[in-house]
């Protein structure tokens, strides 16, 4: 399931429901990304996240499809926040269930790399005295290049 939501979500509720459905799976990997209150030395007051309704969901679906072609996966959950986020709030939750742990780990890792660099979101960091649109770091692109993306 893919969900882009405008309001805060409780990751543990979703993880719990996902686990309960993953009856036959031997392995469930979840990744939770949260807003950090620091960016380098600066305090971050929050993030503003934009998306392109419809097209964003489609871009996430393509990433999920690519993961499913590549690994033996039972189920995938992707939740991504948009709007104004405060430090500590969840930005993204990815859950993957599979028979074997290597598939679940690698797929979750892959999904996150492409949610960072390919999914249609735009992120502004709001500090006390400035606001900046963030682009993926070189490390994010390098992480994503570890995988051969197949259309």
């Amino acid at each position: 399931m893919i969900s882009v939501c405008e309001t805060p979500f409780d990751p543990s509720e979703h993880i719990s429901a996902f686990d309960k459905n993953a009856d036959a799976a031997g392995a469930v990997v979840s990744f939770l990304g949260k807003v950090r209150g620091k960016a380098g030395a600066d305090d971050v007051k929050g993030l503003h996240l934009e998306h392109y309704p419809g097209a964003t969901e489609k871009s996430i679906q393509e990433i999920e499809d690519a993961a499913r072609r590549r690994w033996a996966i039972d189920d995938i959950l992707i939740i991504h926040r948009v709007g104004r986020l405060k430090p500590g709030e969840p930005i993204v939750l990815v859950c993957v269930s599979a028979a074997h742990r290597r598939d679940a780990f690698e797929a979750a890792d892959f999904l996150m790399d492409f949610l960072k660099t390919k999914a249609m979101f735009w992120k502004k960091e709001i500090r006390n005295d400035s606001e900046d649109w963030i682009e993926p770091r070189q490390d994010d692109y390098k992480d994503a290049e570890r995988w051969q993306w197949e259309e």
Partner: protein
């Protein structure tokens, strides 16, 4: 009316996420549309021409020689940054 969408920093430059523009019976390409915008606002125009910006017409990625019509949704996407 054609719908223009500006995401991320482009929305800030455009002074809004969405803008309508009349393209009645025009045979304007995306590149020509950007040139028209550039006449009024050079900062936005050159930002739209940046190599990192992708153009989506009706939610499909398009080259800038794509001809756009009055019913189209034309979106300008700077580099994404999710997660």
């Amino acid at each position: 009316m054609a719908q223009l969408l500006f995401f991320g920093k482009l929305g800030d430059l455009a002074g809004g996420r969405a803008r309508e523009i009349s393209l009645p019976g025009s045979k304007m390409t995306v590149a020509q549309l950007i040139a028209t915008i550039d006449e009024e606002d050079t900062t936005l125009g050159s930002a739209l021409r940046d190599a990192s910006v992708r153009v989506f017409v009706n939610e499909k990625i398009c080259p800038t020689d794509k001809v756009v019509a009055d019913s189209d949704e034309i979106a300008f996407l700077p580099p994404v940054s999710g997660g």
